[in-house]
Every structure is written in structure tokens, then in C-alpha cells.
Symmetry: C2
Subunit: 188 residues, 2 copies
């Protein structure tokens, strides 16, 4: 975890000690939730191993809109930043290990680490560009094209995600995804 932070900013030895104090390890079993609708998201996490999905509830139907795996931040910023109840759910799709930092801990990081604010900016920029690509894809891409984008964006983990969550992410029914996959297979 310290290594992945060092790839983004420079950290002194004293600051490394502070980082070790601010982050703690957490383990979530497959199927368990990191965050449930109605809870306030009180921590940001970095995944050291495992896989999570983000989803919203639509009258009992899940809408899966994001996946996170090794090295990714896990957080519902919409709840975390203003510290208000979340409208999202974050669930482990595999046994998942994370390093977590609390809201107050993050403010300490911003103040106590020289390049802390820079880390915050770079971290959110990464996530932001992903979300932006996904949003604009709804305005211009066909389901086939959105599935192709999923495979690109999540090239390392697409084999680990069940097909019905991929269909949900693309915004189509599982049967339609099967047809798209079959057509793509025939073309190769």
C-alpha cells in the first residue's frame, strides 16, 4: 500500500510512519458489504486483493455501475465527502482485503503529509476519468460498443466478474449479452 502511494507522491520516512498509523487492514468475505444504502461512507479503502462491485437499487433490481480490484480506491464519494447517508451499495464479489483510512484520518493525511493534497487530487482524477468515460458512453455507444469498452476498462478482471453483473453494467439483459458475446466470438 505504501508502495502504491510512493508511485504517486514522494513520502519521507516520518511520513511513512504516519501513513502506517492512519491506515488499517480490513477483510471482507465474498458476498459481504463494504457499504450499504442508508449508511454513511466513513472510510476510503485501497484494495490489496479481491474484487468489489458498486450497485444501486431500482425497486429490487440491482444496477451494477462500477467494479474495483487490486490497487483501486473504494469509496462512495457522494456520501463520503459531505458525510451523508449513501444511496449506493458496495459488495465484495470475492474475499477481499483492503487498507482503510477514516474521514478524520484522511484530513490528517492532507495536513500532515507534504504532498497529501496532491495524492488526493491524483487519486480522484483517476477515478473521475473512468466515470466520465462511462457516462458519455451512455450518450453515444451501442450496447455492443459498451460491452467492448467494459472489456477494455476491466481487461484484467473481466474473467472474474459473473456475466449477469456485466450485463447490468452494460445496461442490457443477460440474454442480450449472450447474443453479443456469441456474435463477437464468430467474428474472431
Amino acid at each position: 500500500m505504501i508502495d502504491s502511494i510512493r508511485q504517486m507522491i514522494s513520502v519521507s520516512d516520518d511520513e511513512t510512519q504516519l501513513l502506517k498509523q492512519l491506515f488499517t487492514e480490513k477483510h471482507i468475505k465474498k458476498g459481504e458489504h463494504f457499504l450499504s444504502e442508508g449508511q454513511v461512507c466513513r472510510t476510503v479503502a485501497i484494495i490489496s486483493s479481491g474484487l468489489v462491485r458498486y450497485y444501486v437499487n431500482d425497486d429490487g433490481n440491482d444496477g451494477t455501475y462500477y467494479f474495483g480490484s487490486e490497487g483501486n480506491f473504494v469509496c462512495d464519494y457522494e456520501s463520503f465527502l459531505p458525510q451523508v447517508p449513501s444511496t449506493k451499495n458496495i459488495q465484495a464479489l470475492e474475499d477481499t482485503s483492503l487498507y482503510i483510512i477514516s474521514y478524520d484520518g484522511l484530513q490528517q493525511l492532507y495536513q500532515g503529509i507534504k504532498e497529501g493534497e496532491r495524492l488526493g487530487r491524483l487519486g480522484i482524477e483517476q477515478v473521475f476519468v473512468n466515470v466520465l468515460q462511462q457516462l458519455t458512453s451512455f450518450y453515444k455507444d451501442s450496447p455492443e460498443e459498451r460491452y467492448r469498452r467494459f472489456l477494455q476498462s476491466y481487461s484484467g478482471i473481466s474473467q472474474r466478474v459473473p456475466q449477469y453483473y456485466i450485463a447490468s453494467y452494460v445496461g442490457i439483459k443477460p440474454q442480450s449479452l449472450s447474443r453479443i458475446r456469441k456474435r463477437a466470438a464468430q467474428q474472431h
Copy 2:
């Protein structure tokens, strides 16, 4: 412009001078583009007066996915951050005045202003939460609900945006938006 920055971070007198050097004024006439597909987005702007829309091209059909008005940042981060050609368009819907800063200028701001990185983080956090709400809305909300969210998110400017751009933002045809508006009017 300096005032809106002062609302987010503290700025010394020397730093105010630097800010004044880094930002320059720009005016765009109604209908003109701040950014066109294929160009690299080389500046971030703050709108002092006016209104812009962000859109993607889908085989000749516009998909309008965002609006910006007084006090908002204007930028295609997906192009700006890595300095690669944009897949987006940003067009003035009214005569628009902006304060712009170049990519290099922004790096100077991050380095030369004590709380510059903090400003960058807070700025992108604001935009990020908006984009996230809009993305998840596609996974759980009906067109009626998305139109209601548009009116909430853009309460100050909804009267200034032509109906066909609102329909595009909601993801429906203008005729469908007319029906939704008629139903909403009857309920009040």
C-alpha cells in the same frame, strides 16, 4: 474569479498576484466552441457569465451530457489531464465570458500556491460528485425521475436551456419530454 478561489482556499497577496498572471479573460460568442472533438483541451476555465453545453457525437446525433454556467469549471478532463485529443465538444449556448488557465499555468499554480493542490482537489471533487449522480441515475431512474433531477441539479439555469438539449441530457426524444412536462404541470 479571485473571490471564488478565496472561498475554497486561503490566498496571500503575493499569491493573488500570481493568480492574476496565470488566468486570462476569454469571450466566446453564442454558438461558438470552447473545445471541438479531435482538439487537445489545453485550458481549464471558470465561467464568469454565460452558459455552455458538453456533448458527444453519435453518428451526427448530439448527446448533451452536461451544462456549465456562472462559477463552474469548464474542461474536458479526459483530454486535459493526459493532454490527448478530445472525444467531446463544449459549445457556448449564450455569449460567455471565462477566465482561463493553461495546462502549464495550472502546474505553476499547484507548485507556486501553498494550497494550490487543495484547490485542485476541491474543484474536481465538486464536478466528480455531479457526474457520479448523473451516471448512477441511468442505472436506477425513470426518464421522469431523470428530468426531475435535471431541474434540481440545474435549478438556476433550467429556463435558459433549450428543451431539445434537456431532452438529450435526459436521454429521451423531445416529444417524450413534452409529455412529461405536461403531466408534471397537471399534477401541480
